[in-house]
């Protein structure tokens, strides 16, 4: 056993996993052997969830049954919806509101008390959590703006139903497909911090609601999920400045500002998800006859590659993609959670099936053992 301090646990393998493989040098990401490029082009999000949770892609019958079972779980209990309304009225941060609402779901889940070793019960809880997150999030986004929540529709798929609940009208096919693809791209990514927090929580054999709640709180941090929102705010600032994007970045770097959406603990080259989203961002710009957001993005990408040697990550191109879809900027990170919940749940199940409590060690650097002085001698 080495005694070397492993702060951040960078590169430390803490468990085996069959779920996703990342090759940071080659810029490759696969889920259970399928490349992210193939999945983005040929599979819908429901197929990816099924793949992650059940180990194989669903056949046609399995897929229909799976989507129906999820769609039937979209309605959220009145008590939770009431709490969401209060959180909207209190102008709660959307990630914090999602954390509270998902935590509260357990009170109304018929399998809440099943032990973590009951994988079938955990899968039912996983379906319910995954199905209800869009309902919570759409209600929150609408209520902040004074609008009423729009109830879910079972006949729409996961992505289209969310956009319907968010906007009150059915999305066109391009928007629904683009959004579905974004969900596919964000579903899993090894032991990132939020996924790792899922398994730390799950490793005490705690329940799935606890594990997913931990993950949402972890994803909330600006060093993790918060970056896509930061990217969009940067693009808006670039646009408002009237400067060309490259000189804006140059100035920003001179002022020691951090440029969000660049660099990644595991990728040395361009994140394969950024490539796919970048193409989609361009298509949306072309369709709208306004390539501004795409062009600001590529100009920043080129400058960062040439001057700093950093490549964009998934957050960089999800920003302009979501923006051109009309999604409010501060729900980009909750949308990340809407997708990644599928990966969190898959990891919670996989890890606890061969569980080992996660309990590392702190290296003590405090004072030597000493006498305790009474209050009047301190």
């Amino acid at each position: 056993m080495t005694d070397e301090l492993r702060k951040g646990l960078e590169g430390v393998p803490v468990a085996e996993s069959e779920l996703s493989r990342i090759d940071g040098d080659a810029g490759e990401l696969v889920y259970r052997g399928y490349t992210i490029e193939d999945l983005a082009r040929e599979a819908r999000f429901a197929e990816v969830i099924y793949l992650l949770w059940h180990g194989h892609l669903p056949d046609a019958d399995e897929l229909v049954a799976f989507e129906e079972s999820m769609a039937a779980e979209r309605t959220v209990d009145d008590d939770v919806m009431d709490t969401v309304a209060r959180l909207a009225a209190a102008d709660e941060n959307p990630m914090a509101a999602l954390r509270t609402a998902v935590s509260m779901l357990s009170a109304y889940d018929p399998d809440a008390d099943a032990p973590a070793s009951d994988t079938e019960a955990t899968l039912r809880k996983g379906r319910r959590i995954t199905a209800k997150i869009p309902t919570i999030l759409a209600a929150l986004a609408r209520q902040r703006d004074g609008a009423d929540p729009v109830p879910p529709r079972e006949e729409l798929d996961h992505a289209a139903n969310f956009l319907y609940m968010l906007n009150g009208e059915e999305p066109d096919e391009v928007l629904a497909e683009t959004f579905d693809m974004a969900l596919v791209l964000h579903a899993d990514h090894g032991f990132n911090a939020s996924t790792f927090s899922t398994i730390v929580t799950a490793s005490t054999m705690s329940d799935l609601h606890s594990a997913v709640t931990s993950a949402i709180g972890t994803l909330k941090g600006p060093l993790h999920g918060g970056a896509n929102q930061d990217v969009m705010e940067m693009l808006q600032e670039v646009d408002a400045s009237g400067k060309d994007a490259a000189s804006w970045v140059e100035t920003a770097l001179d002022e020691d500002r951090r440029i969000p959406g660049f660099g990644h603990r595991v990728y040395d080259v361009k994140d394969p998800r950024a490539k796919i989203l970048g193409e989609r961002s361009k298509e949306l710009g072309e369709a709208a006859g306004d390539l501004r957001w795409y062009e600001h993005s590529t100009a920043i990408e080129e400058y960062m590659a040439e001057e700093i040697g950093l490549a964009p990550n998934v957050d960089f191109y999800s920003a302009s993609t979501y923006y051109q879809m009309g999604i409010p900027v501060d729900i980009y990170t909750p949308i990340f959670a809407m997708s990644r919940a599928s990966g969190w749940i898959a990891h919670a199940i996989e890890y606890t099936e061969d569980n080992r409590l996660i309990r590392p060690r702190a290296r003590y650097t405090g004072p030597d053992t000493r006498e305790l002085p009474p209050v009047d001698e301190r």
Copy 2:
């Protein structure tokens, strides 16, 4: 860099910490250099919180100011209290209810949006969270039984006020002191799983409410905080069986039942906290003229030591101590959280002051890269 799989991270030092030192061979625990025995005997919980958060024991003036600032924060916002009432009505698991309520507190915290790098704001949030957990928990416990919540009283200390809110009457001095001591004993314990989940969440520079919410969900698991409740249920079963405790344990072990409250990842000898709580459990039994729970406990301890070679941990004697204080069995783990919140908050602050994102690696064991078959060919 080693590529060795570190499942469970046992023995892996992931950060430096000045907060607590555990010597598992010697059975020693110190907080910032002060032994747990001295702290249990001579310091109150408020002093221990101050020590953990501020690095030194408070002098008389600091202690008064600190306790007053905490006591002023005990009242919980109406929206959160309403959600707690709903959770009580839904018969939610108390740890799950606490997780939801603490998560919801952020919506009403004036410092909720302060960055994690603002340590002063984090300390204010920490005081509020720590002050409000007892209010939430007492309200939950009373409302489950159909009673109304009892509002906090500022002139009582943290321990006495909780017992007052729980029972609707002021505790006598022995109960208040015993409860305070139990809070002192549970305040910190290195990088246990819940504390580690705190720092995983905090390492994305997420907010303190997220970090503490993660920890509550992690502590909820039966491999971590759930054990003190399991111990008490075992003692009740032993008592109801009419057998002597040693033969009950012998039978239980023959039936492959796990005996809760024994063994610990870091202690090879008796947990020093178990020693202190064992003495207190005995005193409570003597005062009540009923040594049953203490005697069942010691008989099980002797049997386990002689036959299995395992020593009791902190959960083993907190069970009979809390039971003899009249505390409902299913809030033993939330009481653990009420104390450990002080340690979680201290670790979140300490870790983020020299932050490094916690992102380990999974060793991929899934399929090699493969073609994606269309739905009708699966």
